[in-house]
């Protein structure tokens, strides 16, 4: 099929300013054990291709799952017709900047192919974790999952790019839900949506779900009896998994340059990080360093090339609290006279690429976690996301977490339930006075980042270690 697509690209070259085509095959295997039985095992496959063209300065895109040269020619022509229709509402020509002409292959490095592991072996791990959680009588619902993803993609363009990639991802997690008379409490491990990485089955095995099941169940049960987290302004230490979502919502999304240019305005919104702020805005304290790094080994936002044929890169976003860079596409970068830093990805062959987070990381600081707790005279420790909400410019946020603990005189004290904290993004990051070291740093996979219409789900990640924030408002 690749040759057929090459032939069609050659045939339409004279009719278009630019064209690219992606041929994509994906396979997703999902296993879920719920309350002692295998709730579902599914194996889904999808294959298709999509042509993206620029004609007279306007975009057109069409796609199909019928794999023949004749269909490819029809779909390419359809994309051209759509681009022509787009001219009705055009204000300027699309400019992609310098050509991207990579010819290369890329493959995720794995130790053990998750699709080659017998289903029975995966089920056994999940059932064992379930069995351990079942021993706790307060736990009414138990869920254990193992998910594997395979994406094979070919990218060809009229500029000469020819890239083949094979990306493998694997992960899973467990959840214990305790139900009281008028309350429901949940604990998850390793995170509320598990953890997933561009690694093989060895990553799932390393999660040790069974080894963490008893503690997870005990914590869910204990939350039913825990006092409600008090309201007020306090010092907050945020654990790594919750901080990953904090980075996601309050840094990752607002630095998407398509949002900044208003291209997502009607749905997800825009961004407070407008272009005049780049290099000229205090995003956080001098402890805050953030990067977009699609090259991290094992990160869920790691790949070889984006869906415009731009190589994966590491780009600074925030340096010592100063906002210094966006994540970009070819079209948006060229508006700022920059070259794309390779963040365009599509959720499937039938979707157009959008600017998506890669691994947006809070770089490690120099604090030891135990020392950070000891250094905190009065505060609250929160972790594991339960609820999330942020305004459409990414300023006012509110997060709920599964669990909290009181910190008093440098020690972690009693467990607290239903913690919620809120803030305004630059003020919140401006009050960050400590970030833990690389010893405590982990890249958390986020396999469900929604953006675009129709909604596209991207696999992204955030490297974080626990950090401390002063003067945070806690309570709804």
């Amino acid at each position: 099929m690749k040759n057929a697509l090459k032939n069609v690209l050659d045939a339409i070259k004279q009719k278009v300013d630019y064209a690219d085509v992606r041929l994509l095959t994906s396979r997703i295997e999902r296993l879920k054990v719920k309350n002692g039985s295998v709730d579902s095992i599914s194996d889904s496959s999808s294959k298709g291709f999509g042509f993206r063209v620029i004609v007279d300065g306007c975009w057109g895109f069409s796609s199909s799952s019928v794999l023949s040269e004749e269909e490819a020619a029809r779909v390419a022509e359809e994309a051209i017709q759509i681009a022509r229709a787009t001219r009705l509402a055009k204000t300027s020509d699309v400019d992609l900047g310098e050509p991207e002409t990579a010819v290369d292959t890329y493959e995720t490095r794995i130790a053990r192919d998750p699709f080659a592991v017998p289903l029975e072996d995966k089920i056994a791990v999940l059932l064992e974790a379930d069995r351990i959680m079942r021993a706790n009588p307060a736990i009414k619902t138990r869920e254990c999952s193992c998910n594997s993803f395979l994406t094979d993609k070919v990218f060809l363009s009229t500029e000469g790019a020819d890239i083949t990639q094979k990306i493998i991802e694997c992960g899973g997690g467990i959840t214990a839900i305790a139900v009281g008379d008028d309350d429901v409490q949940k604990r998850s491990y390793p995170n509320s949506w598990g953890d997933t990485a561009t690694r093989g089955f060895e990553f799932f095995e390393g999660l040790d779900l069974a080894g963490n099941a008893e503690r997870t169940a005990e914590e869910a049960a204990a939350l039913l009896k825990a006092p409600v987290c008090p309201s007020g302004e306090t010092t907050l230490i945020i654990g790594g998994s919750q901080l990953a979502l904090q980075v996601h919502e309050s840094c990752g999304h607002p630095v998407e340059l398509d949002r900044v240019f208003g291209m997502e305005a009607s749905f997800a919104g825009t961004s407070f990080l407008t272009v005049e702020k780049m290099g000229n805005f205090r995003y956080g304290s001098d402890k805050v360093f953030m990067t977009a790094d699609a090259t991290c080994e094992g990160g869920l936002g790691t790949f070889g090339y984006d869906d415009e044929g731009v190589p994966a890169q590491r780009t600074p976003i925030v340096e010592a609290g100063n906002f210094v860079g966006y994540i970009t596409s070819r079209e948006t970068a060229s508006k700022l006279k920059l070259r794309s830093n390779g963040c365009m990805r599509a959720d499937g062959w039938n979707r157009i690429p959008l600017i998506r987070m890669t691994n947006i990381n809070l770089e490690p600081g120099d604090w030891d976690y135990d020392e950070l707790i000891k250094d905190t005279s009065d505060g609250i420790l929160v972790d594991t996301n339960k609820s999330w909400s942020i305004d459409d410019k990414r300023l006012n946020f509110q997060f709920g977490t599964e669990v909290a603990y009181k910190i008093k005189n440098g020690k972690i004290k009693e467990m607290l339930r239903n913690p919620v904290y809120s803030g305004i993004t630059p003020q919140f990051w401006g009050n960050c006075d400590a970030v833990c070291s690389d010893k405590h740093w982990h890249i958390w996979g986020v396999p469900n980042c929604g953006k675009g219409e129709p909604i596209q789900l991207a696999h992204v990640a955030h490297g974080t270690s626990p950090a401390r924030f002063r003067n945070v408002r806690v309570g709804a």
Partner: protein, 448 residues
């Protein structure tokens, strides 16, 4: 790609015949969608896709395997059949599986309009142009999206069930922006010939103009008038955390332990009806079970939740015809919701307020804070106004609400007599009115 009824059923029977399972159920969802997105008053995405995905559930005894694929050639279908059976054989027994249901043919409901199903990109671009023109008249910028689709759903199983439904749907939303404000409008339709995008553009431009230079007010409890779009976004979450069987049976839903109890006001009724042509009709579910009308809340009293065959077995009831596609994380959800109307207009609601807030749209609602209380949070956006003495006094900077929806729906003072169809980009739709709610808690504010 559109298959048509005969081809779709033939395809499903073929897939079933290829399995070595004791029982099998096949489902095909086909889709042809064109989408035009615009921003800064220009079209920046114009896309088209067509696809058909076959799901196969194979049962070996009480063990079930699920496989799906969009490859419909003979070899791929054989592989699909093998994969589903292999998965089933590696499974453990599902005690709640009682066999795939033998369902009668669901009554046909007309829901397909060729004008929408075959809508060319030029017509979508013309509709978008009308919205952009409305923004240009005021020197504002328009953003939004406009899609049109034709879709098919067919289900067959080895117990003799055969169902087929074809429908069209479309949607346009727009945010029109000035340097200090924005205004929103949206519209859903089955037949694009009944759709007027220019009026949506005018409405969004009017809201944008009225919400320039917003002011800030203190947090606290205010009476609010919320639009149909705002209520629809609340209803999405309410359906997810409250009205599906899973969370109900696990004791996590606000409905759990409250059946036949009063949990909302007398003037609140919510139900699901897959046959009502005022919504987006879907006469059967993804197991091929014909939809029942289900009263969720009747005059403020919790009545029922929706089921598929598995949750129905657990609950000792019959499936209500609300199964989701195989492999989803949740068994059953209401996809055709309606909220009962009242006898007011939105203007009358505003006129009735001494001091309150008019909300055009909510953003990023989250309903997971405390599902038993239906405690939700979210932001206002695209047109929030302070009302004094029955009139809009001035525009407001956006605010965060954190409030129990059980409390909110116990304090509804007025409901509009008109309800509006809201079609989601996934399966499903809701028909909802506007409402005036007393004492709605705003817990925070933002800078714009």
């Amino acid at each position: 790609m559109m298959l048509g009824e005969a081809k779709a059923i033939e395809l499903l029977k073929k897939v079933i015949s290829l399995t070595e399972a004791d029982q099998a159920e096949a489902l095909v969802m086909s889709d042809k969608t064109g989408l035009t997105r615009f921003a800064n008053s220009t079209i920046h995405q114009n896309v088209f896709e067509k696809d058909a995905v076959v799901y196969l559930r194979a049962a070996v005894g009480k063990k079930i395997g699920v496989a799906s694929s969009n490859l419909l050639d003979e070899d791929s279908l054989k592989k699909l059949a093998r994969t589903a059976v292999e998965i089933a054989r590696s499974q453990v027994d599902n005690p709640d599986f009682d066999g795939f249901p033998a369902s009668p043919r669901a009554e046909k409901v007309h829901a397909y309009f060729e004008s929408t199903g075959e809508c060319p990109p030029k017509r979508r671009a013309e509709n978008v142009k009308a919205v952009i023109d409305a923004a240009n008249k005021m020197n504002f910028l328009a953003a939004g999206s406009h899609w049109t689709a034709s879709k098919e759903l067919a289900v067959a199983n080895s117990a003799g069930t055969e169902q087929y439904h074809k429908y069209s749907a479309g949607y346009l939303n727009t945010v029109i922006m000035s340097p200090t404000s924005s205004g929103y409008a949206d519209g859903s339709f089955l037949d694009i010939d009944d759709f007027d995008s220019a009026s949506l553009g005018d409405e969004a431009a009017r809201i944008c103009a009225a919400s320039q230079d917003p002011r800030e007010i203190d947090e606290g409890a205010y009476d609010v008038v919320i639009s149909e779009a705002a209520l629809n976004s609340i209803l999405d979450w309410l359906g997810y955390i409250g009205f599906g069987a899973d969370w109900f049976q696990e004791g996590r839903s606000f409905m759990a332990g409250n059946i036949d109890e009063k949990i909302m006001g007398n003037n609140i009724s919510m139900w699901d009806d897959g046959f009502d042509p005022a919504g987006l009709p879907l006469p059967f579910d993804f197991e091929g079970v014909p939809k029942q009308r289900v009263d969720l809340i009747r005059k403020g009293v919790a009545k029922s939740v929706v089921h598929n065959t598995v949750s129905a077995k657990r609950g000792g009831v019959r499936s209500t015809g609300h199964a989701l596609p195989p492999g989803e994380q949740i068994n059953a959800l209401p996809l055709n919701m309606f909220v009962g109307t009242g006898d007011s207009t939105r203007e009358e609601m505003v006129q009735s307020m001494d001091r309150g807030i008019l909300v055009t749209r909510f953003h990023y609602i989250n309903g997971l804070l405390d599902p038993k209380r239906a405690l939700f949070t979210g932001m206002t956006r695209d047109g929030t106004f302070f009302v004094e003495n029955g009139k809009i006094a001035y525009p407001l900077k956006n605010m965060r609400f954190t409030h129990s929806m059980l409390e909110a729906f116990s304090n509804v003072e007025m409901i509009s007599r008109q309800a509006k169809l809201n079609i989601s980009t996934w399966q499903g739709a809701a028909v909802v009115p506007a409402m005036k709610i007393k004492g709605f808690n705003f817990s925070g504010k933002t800078e714009f």
